[in-house]
């Protein structure tokens, strides 16, 4: 069985509901996959997709504007990003565009982008037309979902879609930092759901640290902050 390890970063302006989105998802996954001691800001979970298993490390980010400049540290080495905006706030939607630009210019490797319009329960206050959002998502090659953290709608789908995309991405072999490997025989995937944090089994060497790949002009991920 194929196992993929990926890092997802959740981006978006303050107040769009990043945390509640994550918390809602954790709450659902709680019994199964998430170690409860970890706060909502960071957690790992396993998602089984098709015949593979995707280990997701979800990194929440601080949404305050003042911490905007710190974002690169968070999304460095990320394989996927959830771009969350509030459908009642056009401003948050435009902020998403800013994020996308930033990601595109700063992250050298392919990333799975998902645009998430949160607070779909506030349909009456909608400020961002559904079509506009979908179109925009299409232009950046991202999936678009609308969710409601309040009513727990569509959240699981977001993560599932992301997992599927990651699987596809990993099979394309374009992304070096996305670690994928075949799990060894003795490690039965069902058993490994119990220990989420037992990561990086039998891992492939990280090209980011291989001198050769750097010499050949591949982007280097500097570990320094």
């Amino acid at each position: 069985m194929k196992v993929i390890e990926a890092k997802i970063v959740v981006l978006g302006s303050q107040g769009v509901g990043k945390t509640s989105l994550v918390v809602r998802y954790i709450g659902k996954m709680f019994s199964k996959h998430v170690s409860p001691t970890i706060g909502a800001s960071f957690f790992t979970c396993n998602i089984s997709v098709e015949n593979a298993r995707v280990k997701l490390q979800v990194w929440d980010t601080a949404g305050q504007e003042r911490f905007r400049s710190m974002a690169p540290m968070y999304y460095r080495n990320a394989n996927a990003a959830l771009l969350v905006f509030d459908i009642t706030s056009m401003q948050s939607f435009t902020a998403i565009k800013g994020w996308v630009k930033e990601l595109q210019s700063n992250v050298p490797e392919a990333m799975v982008l998902s645009v998430v319009g949160n607070k779909s329960d506030l349909e009456s206050l909608r400020a961002v037309p559904y079509n506009e959002a979908t179109q925009y998502a299409a232009t950046i090659g991202a999936a678009y979902c609308e969710t409601s953290a309040l009513h727990d709608q569509g959240i699981e789908k977001v993560f599932k879609n992301t997992a599927i995309s990651l699987l596809q991405l990993s099979s394309s072999n374009l992304v070096s930092s996305l670690r994928s490997y075949d799990s060894t025989e003795e490690k039965i995937p069902t058993a490994s759901t119990t220990n989420d944090r037992a990561t990086h089994t039998a891992k492939v060497e990280l090209p980011a640290w291989s001198i050769d790949s750097i010499a050949h002009g591949e982007p280097q991920k500097n570990m320094c902050c």
């Binding site: 990043k18 800001s41 960071f42 601080a62 990561t199 990280l206 750097i214 010499a215 280097q220 320094c224």
Partner: protein
């Protein structure tokens, strides 16, 4: 060539450009080319070399040597520039790093030769490996020893490798080399059959284990991996620390985090987080440092919000914690971790996440402006202009007091405890006092009772011995004849038929004695009618021990004298004399029993006088008196009485039999025995 112009010590920008004329900078290490051109050049060269097979090896090495010479000459003057670039490289990753890595590659090729010349003078202390061995046994008890040896071998080469290269490489290269070593070990684990049985989790642990021991040792070496030479980590540390001091006024309001500084629990958590941050410097390998950061972040998370805390809460609170902690060598520590921690750990996992947050916090602090605190620029400047010693928000005060308050709280708690304890002690003390008081009363009562019960009888005893002594020594005592003291002495016994007369006579005798011993004053008190045993008893009790001893001695010494004594005494001599003589000769042994009753009988007359109170008292007194009498009297009187009066007394006793029975046996048993022998001895 660029290097030929170097002696001028000035480097024009044009000089640094690539020889090929492209826009990039060149580098002497690349023969003046930029990296790209150089690589192309090298590839061309390699191809050419391959084509020319191995015939040209010799000239090539020559060439290399000369190249190296050039490089070395240029290296020193170039180093500053290089360092600058090193710093820039963080921002201009792509281009610069490309160059650097080529540069580094080159250098490694170069120095492989030069290091061969260096003697391996360095030896790793064996303690490192012994510690490793022990640790291995603890952590992986089930693993075969081969792995242990393997791991140690790896650590050995790893340490040597790092030390060897640390002198030559710059930090970034070294960190890459370290990372490569980690990967090498991982690969080794994958390929080697020793590790076939080891599952992936254990492999993780193993690589951690290796890293831990290697880096723990390396960390202690100065300027190798921790704030290595050639970096300005230390300077940055100082700058950071000063910066944090300057920002000591920043509080939770500025950072918009919801903390309640008045909440003790909140303070406690922050305090914990701070101590973890401070502890980070003490941890020696990056894993331990990360663990510290993780624990710190968890405290901060709990501090930040009761609900599952989000990054929105975490980061500001963490910034606050860093500001308040001002951890030593913060930048050095962060750099150390980022450079030499196993990259995979750092990029993934909780530790990595929190460490990233810490980095963010640090960078936020470094770049803090009025804007980022969303406050007025003027105000911000004002605060910043304030000397660090003055600056300080209420938070700072609260925190700086944190330790003090904690201590104070502990102290007050302790004080309260002590107070309770003292109260209890006081209570108990009072109880004790009460008990003591009641006990005292009881004792006093008892004593009084006893005193009431134990009266006069003793007196005569003492008096008697003294009398004897004095009497023997000097006649004067008898002079005080008047002795009105009314002792319940057995004088009556002497003269049975005329009991009354006997008594009076005896009293007289006793009176002498009393007067002599105590004081004349008492004798008057002891009126015949009023002589209360109590009065006499009190007097008797106290001196008794004193008197007794001499009495005994005397009694022993003067066994014979007493008998004679009465003779000496003027008044009494007449009466006693006759009787005594006769009595003495008689069998003392037989006489004893009877005499006791005799006395009793004699008491009877007294009883009414003395014990006007109650019958019981009388009884008790009688007992005592009897005892006393027995003792005292034994020497003389008992002896006298027994035989002759025995029969008579018996008759008398018959009347007062009840009283006598109870008292007599005890008296007889206790006292007579010791004294009898004397008596018996005397007469014989």
């Amino acid at each position: 060539m660029i290097t030929s112009k170097m002696p001028s010590l000035r480097i024009d920008q044009n000089d640094l450009k690539c020889k090929n004329g492209c826009d990039y900078f060149g580098n002497p290490q690349w023969q003046g080319y930029c990296s790209k051109c150089h690589r192309e050049q090298m590839q061309r060269q390699r191809k050419a070399e391959k084509a020319s097979s191995f015939t040209s090896t010799l000239p090539r090495s020559d060439q290399r040597k000369s190249e190296r010479g050039l490089k070395l000459s240029s290296h020193a003057s170039f180093s500053k520039f290089e360092e600058k670039r090193l710093r820039q490289s963080e921002t201009l990753k792509k281009t610069n790093l490309l160059k650097f890595n080529v540069f580094k590659k080159n250098i490694t090729d170069d120095h492989e030769i030069s290091t061969e010349r260096r003697q391996p003078e360095f030896k790793i202390p064996t303690a490192v490996f012994e510690g490793m061995k022990a640790d291995f046994r603890v952590r992986f008890p089930s693993f075969p020893p081969q792995i242990d040896r393997d791991a140690r071998g790896f650590v050995h080469t790893f340490i040597l490798d790092v030390i060897k290269w640390a002198a030559i490489m710059n930090v970034d290269e070294l960190s890459e080399r370290v990372q490569k070593q980690y990967q090498r070990f991982m690969k080794h684990m994958e390929t080697s059959q020793h590790y076939a049985s080891v599952d992936s989790d254990a492999r993780e642990l193993l690589i951690d284990f290796v890293e831990k021991h290697a880096m723990t040792y390396l960390h202690e070496l100065p300027s190798i991996v921790f704030s290595p030479s050639g970096t300005d980590d230390e300077r940055q540390d100082r700058a950071m620390s000063e910066r944090i001091q300057q920002l000591s006024w920043v509080g939770e309001k500025h950072l918009e985090c919801k903390l309640d500084r008045n909440n003790a629990e909140c303070r406690r958590l922050l305090y914990k987080a701070i101590s973890e941050l401070l502890g980070m410097d003490a941890a020696r390998w990056s894993g331990a440092k990360l663990a510290r950061v993780r624990r710190c972040a968890r405290h901060v998370l709990r501090l930040a919000a009761p609900a599952p805390a989000s990054a929105d809460d975490l980061l500001p609170a963490l910034i606050l914690a860093v500001l308040k902690a001002n951890p030593p060598r913060l930048i050095s520590n962060i750099n150390y971790v980022t450079r030499f921690c196993n990259a995979q750990r750092l990029m993934t996992g909780e530790g990595g996440y929190y460490f990233t947050n810490l980095c963010c916090a640090v960078s936020f602090i470094q770049n803090m402006t009025a804007e980022s605190l969303s406050m007025d620029k003027k105000e911000f400047d004002c605060y910043m202009a304030m000397p660090a010693s003055i600056g300080g928000s209420a938070w700072a005060a609260a925190l700086s007091l944190c330790g003090a308050t904690r201590e104070a709280e502990e102290q007050s708690a302790l004080a309260a405890k002590l107070l309770e304890q003292t109260k209890e002690i006081q209570r108990e003390a009072e109880n004790m006092a009460n008990n003591a008081a009641t006990f005292e009363e009881q004792i006093a009562k008892k004593v009084q009772d006893v005193l009431a019960k134990t009266p006069l009888e003793i007196k005569p005893r003492r008096e008697l011995p003294r009398l004897r002594r004095e009497g023997v020594g000097s006649a004067p005592p008898p002079t005080t004849e008047p002795g009105p003291a009314r002792t319940s002495e057995p004088p009556a016994l002497l003269n049975e038929p005329s009991v009354v007369i006997d008594e009076t006579e005896k009293l007289n005798i006793l009176g002498f004695e009393v007067v002599e011993e105590r004081s004349p004053s008492k004798s008057p008190q002891l009126d015949r009618l009023s002589d209360l045993k109590q009065s006499s008893s009190t007097e008797l009790l106290t001196p008794s021990p004193m008197v007794l001893t001499p009495f005994d001695c005397r009694s022993l010494d003067e066994v014979l004298t007493p008998d004679e004594f009465p003779d000496n005494i003027p008044g009494l001599s007449d009466v006693n004399y006759d009787i005594d003589l006769s009595d003495f000769s008689a069998d003392t042994s037989l006489a004893e029993d009877p005499p006791a009753p005799d006395r009793r009988r004699t008491f009877d007359p007294f009883a009414p006088q003395t014990s006007k109170d109650s019958y019981k008292l009388l009884e008790s007194f009688d007992e005592f008196s009897i005892v006393d009498n027995a003792r005292e009297s034994d020497p003389y009187e008992v002896v006298h009485r027994p035989d002759p009066f025995g029969s008579v007394l018996d008759n008398d006793e018959g009347r007062a039999s009840i009283l006598d029975d109870s008292g007599s046996p005890t008296a007889a048993c206790l006292l007579p025995s010791p004294i009898q022998p004397q008596n018996s001895a005397k007469p014989t």
